[in-house]
């Protein structure tokens, strides 16, 4: 109230000063006072009213027709005032929605959180960074009774909240499978049927499912149209693409998948990622897959968690780096 009346007198004084001197500084002051009006929710028609008062103080014999024209302006500004009020309400509403989404995103994170299983066999590192509030990438770890480790990495295509929500469906479907009895290809085939029945036609899911069996040292894997991962052969110091064919989940209910296998030696690594990693853009340029591989190569000797952190930090440091898509990277290193 106080600031309001103070500002009102300030406004009148400023108009007087400007009429007399017409100096730039007064214009700057006008800008400042306008900001404070906005902050205090002063409506446009109130400012016009103030202006009329200022004019009457400066020119006590203000001509009637000018006064009338100012009244006309006042009426015209009332509509602007209403629009402004509406805008304020929308802003508040938006803030409300934003905070609700934040709560939903936190809840989703909690529901979907999958801790890295404790195992003597593998050193596992994972980083998953959403481009927006809700993450469309998903990763899931399962430890079997025989000590086997299952890892799923998935990308939900179809953006936004509905896509993110469908991830819970995947998680609960996976939790309901008798994990130890199932091979990677049957897991994907079962998930495919669940997804196909339950998602919007423009939505689908890419997934890479891998299972490591410590007693044989073998990795079994299947892919449902997922960005291929890499195999790092520590002996030859070489990277190879983990080739696996298969259709994305949710397109055709009768899809079958292939299971591949790979023998891992001590210090070999498996790198799994989502296309958010390879779809990073630098200005108008893409980061090529080879370039991503170069960065991974640079850090592969580090412990797995440190390695994934460093790779992400590398891209984050790039100039004008902008996450267009959710970014998920998993490194598994055979340590015994």
């Amino acid at each position: 109230m106080d600031t309001k009346s103070l500002n009102a007198q300030d406004y009148i004084d400023l108009v007087k000063a400007y009429v007399e001197t017409q100096d730039e500084k007064t214009l700057y002051d006008a800008e400042q006072i306008a900001k404070s009006f906005i902050k205090n929710n002063i409506l446009p028609e109130e400012i016009v009213n103030l202006h009329i008062q200022a004019l009457l103080e400066i020119y006590p014999d203000l001509k009637d027709d000018i006064q009338a024209s100012m009244k006309f302006l006042l009426e015209a500004m009332i509509m602007y005032g209403l629009a402004h009020q509406e805008y304020q309400q929308l802003r508040e509403k938006q803030l409300e929605i934003k905070s609700e989404i934040l709560v939903a995103a936190r809840m989703q994170q909690m529901l979907l959180q999958s801790d890295i299983p404790k195992t003597e066999a593998l050193d596992i590192g994972v980083i998953s960074v959403p481009a927006n509030q809700m993450n469309g990438d998903y990763h899931h770890f399962v430890k079997g009774k025989d000590g086997s480790i299952g890892i799923a990495i998935a990308d939900i295509i179809g953006k936004g909240i509905p896509a993110a929500l469908s991830m819970s469906m995947i998680k609960y479907a996976m939790d309901s499978f008798p994990e130890n009895l199932m091979s990677t290809d049957t897991i994907l085939a079962s998930l495919n049927r669940v997804v196909e029945r339950n998602v919007d036609p423009s939505m689908f899911i890419t997934m890479f499912y891998a299972q490591y069996k410590p007693n044989t040292g073998k990795l079994y894997y299947s892919s449902a149209g997922h960005e291929p991962g890499f195999y790092y052969n520590s002996h030859s110091n070489n990277f190879e693409e983990l080739e696996a064919k298969g259709l994305v989940l949710g397109v055709n209910p009768d899809t079958t998948y292939m299971q591949y296998e790979l023998k891992l030696e001590k210090d070999d690594s498996i790198i799994l990622l989502t296309d958010g990693v390879t779809e990073c853009r630098r200005e108008e340029q893409f980061i090529e897959r080879e370039e991503v591989l170069e960065v991974i190569k640079h850090y592969i000797h580090l412990p797995a968690q440190e390695a994934v952190n460093q790779v992400y930090r590398h891209f984050e440091r790039l100039q004008n780096f902008q996450l267009r898509d959710d970014f998920t990277l998993v490194i598994l290193k055979k340590i015994v």
């Binding site: 990308d155 295509i157 953006k159 423009s202 890419t206 149209g225 960005e227 259709l247 994305v248 055709n252």
Partner: protein, 110 residues
């Protein structure tokens, strides 16, 4: 970040020429253009992607949607002249195997 869609409609064949980028911003526009065409029974829709330099997975979602719609409605969807980068998305996702895709741009692609 723009997509031009040009449609030539014949009796039972529609040619769709796309130019620009298909991403999360332009995908809805493409969907609105494609789905009515695939809903027409007996229609063949040929989508020319020669001028599409970039497509993300949301764009792929539109084509999956169009494919499902064409199967349901007895129409045919055909993609032609894909750039390597765009073609790669169809290859990785296994969609190339179930869609009618003719990638050749003047013998540049395999």
């Amino acid at each position: 970040m723009n997509l031009q869609i040009h449609i030539e409609e014949g009796n039972d064949k529609s040619h769709v020429h796309l130019s620009g980028e298909i991403d999360v911003y332009t995908a809805p526009k493409l969907k609105d253009a494609l789905i009515p065409l695939t809903s027409k029974q007996g229609n063949t829709i040929e989508v020319n992607l020669e001028q599409v330099k970039y497509m993300d997975s949301t764009g792929l979602g539109v084509f999956v949607n169009a494919l499902k719609s064409s199967k349901e409605n007895g129409s045919k969807l055909k993609l032609i002249n894909l750039q390597d980068r765009v073609l790669r998305l169809f290859q990785i996702t296994g969609l190339q195997e179930i869609m009618d895709i003719n990638a050749t741009i003047r013998g540049v692609n395999e």
